[in-house]
Amino acid sequence: MEEPVIEFHLDARTGVSPYLQLVQQVRHALRLGLLREGDQLPTVKEVVAQLAINPNTVLKAYRELEHEGLVAARPGVGTFVTATLTDTSLAAHGPLRLELRRWLTKARRAGLDEESIEALFMTTFRTTAQEDIA
């Protein structure tokens, strides 16, 4: 058997559910170009044997990625990457970072300290995320 291309890890303290952490790690690897079209994701058995997590957690993560059109399952063989995330989003990083820097400067000038900035960002991030779901 070949070495898996990526290995997953779990952070217990993030509050992000384990299945979502797996989804995010695949997306992240796709963005960074660590995973490319045609690569095979670790099998469910490999992931659970490494992380000691429930197989359904891995299946759910892979289904979600499949639903997003990023991977495809070949029954009896494994799950393979079918799309890439690098070109479209990487190009947008630069301008977005610039805007974010400007916003951070403004926030500091308004007297916000690090913690207040983080709290403001996270609450806004969460409320918009919730509004998107609703």
Partner: protein, 296 residues
């Protein structure tokens, strides 16, 4: 979907003391079920009832559609690893496997040997000379090689160090992925089970206040903090799990299927551990008024 374990008003009494009462649960197949509760809550009693090692005093229990321990076929379908993963100290690892092969009609010898080799146990080693982690792995191997449809494990990791604990759960999850068996395992620590379970039964003081898929539990429980409020003034759909009050503030853990719109509350999510702890606090349903008055 078929049930792996169904209990209706199940109870077990030892003399005058109820070890388990009014237990009604229905667990669909294909889950890894965590049974959590403090020591002495009745976890072992429930597991032994499911394995057919105890007879119920009240109510009914069916496991994989049959009466626990009712027939040889039923016994072959259910594996049970008792507390402290018992093995025969005087027998070697190889002798354990031979014994397993003789006692179990569906014994998977290839799997047993492969697992023993992978774990690195010497077949000639006496079980009494194994470390706690190795002993647990041997007991797990015997439970898995029996090829049960349901494997029941009573506090399998309680006495293991963190590394042995992780290795044990890795092996168990690998087997679940490969053989699609259902598992019920107990622990007094939620943190042991959090990653491996997708269904949770909470057992407190011989009763089961809640049993559901973990995702559903996390999606329907909230912590509400705000100005002091009497529980009677909460909406009908919000069930109080635990409540604390100061002169000015109330903190509730509630269960509800609806979303919470009341702007007076700061609404927080709970971790699985906090959720279970909330159920372990004094039951609020019986004592909510008393609690409020005492603190006034």
């Amino acid at each position: 979907m078929t049930s792996v374990l169904r209990a209706q008003g199940l109870g077990k009494r030892y003399g005058r003391r109820w070890a388990l009462r009014e237990c009604t649960i229905d667990i669909p197949a294909g889950h890894v079920v965590g049974l959590v509760g403090p020591n002495g809550a009745g976890k072992t009693t429930l597991l032994k009832l499911a394995a057919g090692q105890l007879e119920p005093t009240a109510g009914d229990i069916t496991v994989l559609g049959g009466r626990p321990g009712g027939s040889p076929a039923q016994l072959a379908k259910v594996g049970f690893v008792a507390q402290d993963t018992p093995v025969y100290a005087g027998l070697t690892v190889a002798e354990h496997l031979r014994l397993g092969a003789r006692l179990n009609p569906r014994w998977d010898d290839a799997m047993a040997r492969e697992r023993i080799a992978r774990i690195g146990l010497a077949p000639a080693q006496r079980a009494g000379r194994l470390s706690g982690g190795q002993r647990a792995q041997l007991a797990l191997t015997l439970g898995l090689a029996k090829r049960p449809e349901l494997l029941i494990l009573d506090e399998p990791v309680a006495s293991l160090d963190p590394l042995a604990r992780r290795e044990f759960l890795q092996g168990l999850m690998e087997a679940v992925a490969e053989h699609e068996l259902s598992v019920v395992l107990s622990s007094h620590l939620v943190s042991d089970l959090e990653r491996v379970c997708d269904f949770l039964i909470v057992l407190v003081g011989s009763r089961v206040p809640v049993a559901a898929e973990t995702e559903r539990l996390l999606a329907t429980h909230y912590r509400l903090t705000g100005p002091r409020r009497d529980p009677d003034r909460l909406p009908a759909g919000q069930h109080v799990v635990s409540a604390r009050h100061t002169d000015r503030q109330s903190t509730y853990v509630i269960r509800t299927d609806a979303s919470i719109h009341d702007p007076a509350w700061t609404v927080g999510q709970l971790s699985l551990e906090d959720l279970v702890l909330a159920y372990m606090e004094k039951r609020p349903a019986e004592s909510r008024r008393v609690a409020l008055e005492v603190q006034r």
